[in-house]
């Protein structure tokens, strides 16, 4: 109907159309009578056939036919010839309806229903499918039906894979065929079927997709498949330990509340009021099952029996990349203690995809407990002055950030080779947007695999340049490239001790605490946190961050500057709730409160609507304010802040300030003002 002039119909056409309508109406009403009165004679069934041939959308008629077939089958007992002829007739009606509209859900479903009666011949079904898939090779009804038939008849996945070969060779642009191929291959690779070992098979797939991409670089299908292949290449099933704090071979200096006496130059100094320090494990993928039996601790520190490990993630989830426990120490008992940790001592650490942590890993560090002499002062932390350039030798840093269990991975070589050959291949295609993006992704993957210090980090400049080009070329996806640029930039910063030390400073105000300053870098996303677990003071001001996601792993963090970013609500700071050491937080000059969340619109807009919430004192005294500022309430009440800067946000004002004082009673500094007692 589309594309035809509507008003130009001639009188005779009008008449024909009217006659057709009359005929349809009479068919329809006769059919309804039959249906209502449960008449299943041949004549009545024939009538529904006619109706469906005119309008395959009449699902009532399909339902009628199902009842009619059941009725007929019950009457003929089990004469196989009769059963076959009844069901054959159904298949014929479906086929003729599909010729009328091959996108009719009702017709395809009716065919599935017939097949599920045990009536099928795989040859016939595949022949029919070939016909429809030739007509429209993207018809997803046909593809879905094909997968149904294959499963029903146990046709081999290898045979189906050959079918996708044909379809792809026929037309490289057929994304449906590529999709089916990835589904089939995933299954075959997972089974380690004969001829489908990843290291043998995946390189062949790269060859196939190259021929598609190089034939028409503007076609999306091949690129998506390539992305999937890259994922298969990088996907190491076994979870691995990426980093820990304290790291292997390091010495941490521990003291009680306040600052350490004297000028200990070790920057792995940690002070705690509670007399305990966190032990952090960072895995390359989310795992569950970290406990005192899967991770054993052999230490001379007293009072540490069975340790309780907690996943740092959403409260209901028992899987996470980051796991933490706390080790106790007594600061009046200065001494050095060795601590030995064995991860994977007994089986039980399992990735969320069900793979076991299979390579036990052991690391040792020294805990140097100091006497506490000086009391802490509740001075204000300034982010503008009091910083000295980092002067330590980078050797110190090495012991903090190196841990690469990746090298232990035996199945690593083919992956590296595959990525290398892809990098070489796409170097020449990088004049298109998708070519640049693919090359940038490949180079990132390559860098992640490099362990040789001599060549580590050399390609980051190239990656950053690719994302810069993309931002300029393709403004509609600017933010996406920007985020990737930030990730690559942070990988570069953390790729070597030299580059990291350029961002390290000492803050005199807190006894030369080490401060990582990543301000003014137009970062829009946080990454590489696994290499920054030691950081206690972090300056991320003057960036373009929307959220603090990722920072939850930094369990030592006590001072954080997020001023002049793009935080839109306190919910975006949710991950900070896990950072129990956080004392100083600057979120001034963001967009908090500018985009108000309309809490009346959403079912679960606020956790207040969850049953698990029970109001505390503030909630009881000020239910109105809690409802108004629920996102601030839920984040701030879980933090132990002493200093908060909130000025320069839409939300700030007298009402909000007084609300903050109620939920954070221990606060000493608010927006630079010391609070009276």
């Amino acid at each position: 109907m589309h594309g035809r002039p509507r008003k130009a119909s001639k009188p005779e056409e009008e008449a024909a159309s009217a006659a057709k309508a009359v005929k349809l109406r009479s068919l329809q009403s006769q059919f309804m009578t039959n249906h209502h009165d449960k008449i299943y004679t041949n004549e009545a069934i024939e009538l529904s056939t006619k109706l469906l041939e005119i309008n395959p959308e009449a699902y009532t008629a399909w339902n009628y036919r199902k009842l009619a077939v059941e009725d007929c089958l019950s009457r003929i007992e089990s004469d196989p010839n009769l059963v076959n002829s009844i069901l054959d007739e159904e298949l014929r009606v479906v086929e003729s309806a599909l010729r009328q509209n091959f996108k009719s859900y009702g017709a395809w479903h009716h065919r599935k229903w017939v097949l599920s009666k045990g009536h099928s011949s795989i040859g016939d079904e595949l022949k029919l499918l070939d016909k429809f898939q030739r007509l429209d090779s993207r018809n997803f009804h046909a593809w879905n039906y094909r997968r149904f038939v294959v499963e029903l008849t146990n046709r081999s996945e290898q045979d189906e894979l050959h079918y996708t070969d044909d379809m792809i060779n026929n037309n490289f642009s057929n994304y449906s065929a590529w999709h089916n191929r990835s589904v089939l291959l995933s299954s075959l690779l997972a089974q380690n079927a004969d001829g489908f070992m990843p290291n043998e098979r995946i390189p062949d797939e790269y060859d196939l997709v190259h021929s598609a991409i190089f034939t028409d670089p503007d076609d999306q299908s091949g690129w998506f498949y390539h992305l999937w292949l890259l994922d298969q290449t990088l996907n190491v099933e076994t979870p691995l330990l990426t980093s820990s704090w304290p790291s292997h071979g390091s010495t941490v200096s521990l003291s009680g509340a306040g600052c350490l006496n004297g000028s200990s130059s070790k920057f792995t100094t940690f002070c705690s009021e509670s007399g305990s320090f966190p032990l952090i494990l960072y895995f390359d993928q989310a795992v569950g099952g970290v406990s005192s039996s899967t991770v054993t601790t052999d230490s001379e520190l007293k009072g540490n029996g069975d340790l309780v490990w907690e996943p740092i993630s959403y409260k209901n989830s028992q899987v996470s990349c980051v796991w933490v426990t706390h080790l106790k120490y007594v600061s009046s008992d200065p001494c050095e203690y060795k601590v030995k940790i064995r991860v994977g001592n007994s089986p039980g650490i399992v990735s969320s995809r069900g793979h076991n942590f299979s390579a036990p890993y052991e690391f040792v560090f020294t805990a140097h407990v100091h006497d506490t002499v000086k009391d802490s002062q509740e001075g204000i932390v300034s982010w503008t002055d009091g910083f000295d350039i980092w002067d330590a030798k980078s050797k110190d840093l090495n012991s903090l950030i190196t841990l690469d269990q990746l090298e232990a991975e035996i199945d690593f070589k083919w992956r590296q080779e595959a990525i290398d050959s892809e990098v070489e291949c796409f170097g020449i295609l990088s004049d298109s947007k998708i070519g640049k993006l693919t090359l940038a992704r490949l180079l990132m993957a390559r860098e992640a695999m490099v362990s040789d210090d001599a060549v580590k980090g050399v390609r980051y400049e190239e990656i950053l340049q690719l994302y810069n080009d993309l931002m300029a070329l393709d403004s509609s996806h600017y933010q996406y490239y920007k985020d990737e640029h930030s990730v690559a930039f942070l990988h570069k910063v953390t790729s070597s001790s030299e580059s990291l030390s350029r961002h390290l400073f000492r803050y005199r105000g807190m006894n030369n605490l080490v401060c990582l300053r990543l301000n003014n870098l137009s970062l829009s996303r946080i990454a590489s946190v696994e290499k920054l677990l030691f950081v206690q003071m972090l300056d991320l001001s003057h960036n373009e961050l929307h959220s603090t996601e990722g920072l939850e792993a930094m369990q030592l963090l006590s001072c954080l500057n997020l001023s002049h970013n793009r935080i839109r609500s306190f919910s975006a700071l949710d991950s900070l709730r896990h950072v129990k050491q956080l004392k100083v937080l600057d979120v001034s000059h963001n967009h908090i409160g500018k985009h108000s969340v309309d809490t009346t619109r959403y079912l679960c807009s606020s956790p207040l609507s969850n049953s698990e919430w029970s109001p505390d004192d503030v909630g009881r005294q000020n239910p109105g304010l809690v409802t108004k500022y629920w996102d601030a309430y839920f984040v701030l009440r879980d933090l132990n802040l002493k200093q908060l800067d909130i000025a320069g946000n839409e939300i700030s004002g007298n009402e909000f300030s007084s609300f903050v004082l109620q939920i954070v009673p221990k606060l000493v500094w608010l927006d630079g003002q010391k609070l009276g007692n």
């Binding site: 859900y105 999306q220 994922d231 839109r568 949710d574």
Partner: protein
């Protein structure tokens, strides 16, 4: 309408343009005037009013979806701020006449579904025993019926929602998906969405097992980030909408997912964002699947997903607006592709898309319900 199959509208049918070609013909045999640079509100109003009075014969194969067509017209009029053109009492009475009511409480356990019929041709009069014959009430029609009632401001608390919801449970399968009618039918994400929207509109979740529905949805996410209609199928714009909107309605994903902590999210939002953004083509419009032409309705299906996950700032809105205007008919309404005649389905999703783009003259949109935002009636 090859792609639009996903939506609630076209659950059972597609044939309104059954003889349409798969791709629009790129060359027009006669010169066409350049498309208007404005959203022609008055013409759209005229178009909908015309449809309200009388449906053209093109829709005859859609007879079975009469309630759906009515929803497009009435909710469309609301977007245009012209709901006063509708006699609300007459509409409410008409819609309610399609409700399937159980004859007594016992029959609620008989496995049937007591929702709404799509049209008279799937509805029989109640027999002398007060029983329904061949109760073919349908989830999608039920969604549309409730949507119309909501939009015209009818008080939903006075309809028999208990039998509707109790019996709706009969439609949910072990894998969490829903059948559209109790007699049987294909199960996929469209009907999970209908069920979630129905529970949401009736403010009562006793009609479904949310946890198992959630698991079904998660099984439909493909490796490229989008969602297919059933597990293992190819990512599709409409299916992706059904997935994300259902998760939102059920409360499994929060507002502004991308800005918040995505490690705590049950879906992979960055992969989803990636897939959605790649669907915007060079012509500014959105396609439903990889390597398909842009189509008006996906401006809504995918635009709404982006809105729901907080990624709508990344849409090239100027280009999208330009594409939509190229599909605006000079008679009012929108067509699937530029240069074709308009239809109700694409017109309605054209209006929702313009509402998403914050066109000043249109009612704001509630993206998860696909309806105008109705503060007064609690949406």
């Amino acid at each position: 309408m090859s792609e639009t199959t996903v939506s609630i509208d076209s659950d059972r049918s597609k044939s309104e343009d059954e003889d349409e070609e798969e791709y629009p013909s790129p060359v027009q045999s006669f010169p066409r005037p350049p498309p208007s640079v404005n959203f022609e509100k008055d013409r759209h109003l005229m178009y909908l009013e015309m449809m309200y009075e009388l449906l053209p014969y093109h829709y005859q194969s859609q007879e079975i979806n009469r309630l759906t067509l009515a929803h497009f017209i009435i909710s469309g009029l609301h977007f245009l701020g012209a709901l006063d053109r509708v006699d609300k009492d007459v509409v409410a009475k008409w819609v309610l006449s399609f409700q399937a009511l159980p004859s007594n409480r016992v029959s609620l356990k008989d496995g049937e579904f007591y929702g709404f019929f799509g049209s008279r041709s799937s509805q029989f009069p109640i027999d002398e025993n007060g029983d329904l014959t061949h109760n073919g009430s349908h989830l999608a029609s039920t969604y549309c019926a409730l949507a119309i009632l909501k939009v015209i401001g009818h008080d939903l608390s006075i309809i028999d929602s208990e039998s509707l919801l109790l019996s709706m449970k009969n439609l949910q399968q072990d894998d969490g998906s829903f059948m559209p009618i109790h007699i049987g039918g294909e199960t996929d994400l469209r009907f999970v969405y209908c069920a979630a929207a129905i529970c949401y509109m009736l403010d009562n979740w006793s009609g479904m097992d949310k946890e198992s529905a959630k698991n079904y949805i998660l099984n439909c996410q493909s490796y490229d980030g989008g969602f297919g209609l059933i597990p293992g199928s190819e990512s599709h714009g409409g299916a992706t909408y059904c997935a994300i909107a259902s998760l939102r309605l059920m409360g499994y994903i929060g507002v502004d997912l991308l800005s918040n902590d995505s490690s705590s999210s049950i879906i992979d939002p960055s992969l989803l964002l990636n897939w959605c953004l790649q669907r915007q083509g060079n012509d500014g419009g959105f396609q439903g699947r990889t390597n398909k032409p842009s189509d008006t309705c996906y401006a809504f299906w995918i635009g709404a997903v982006l809105k729901l996950i907080g990624g709508d700032a990344l849409i090239d809105k100027i280009a999208l607006r330009k594409f939509l205007l190229s599909c605006q008919s000079k008679y009012g309404g929108f067509s699937k592709f530029s240069g074709q005649l308009p239809d109700l389905y694409h017109s309605y999703y054209g209006y929702t898309a313009f509402s998403l783009l914050e066109e000043p003259d249109l009612s704001p949109l509630c993206p998860e319900l696909g309806l105008p935002l109705l503060a007064a009636s609690g949406i």
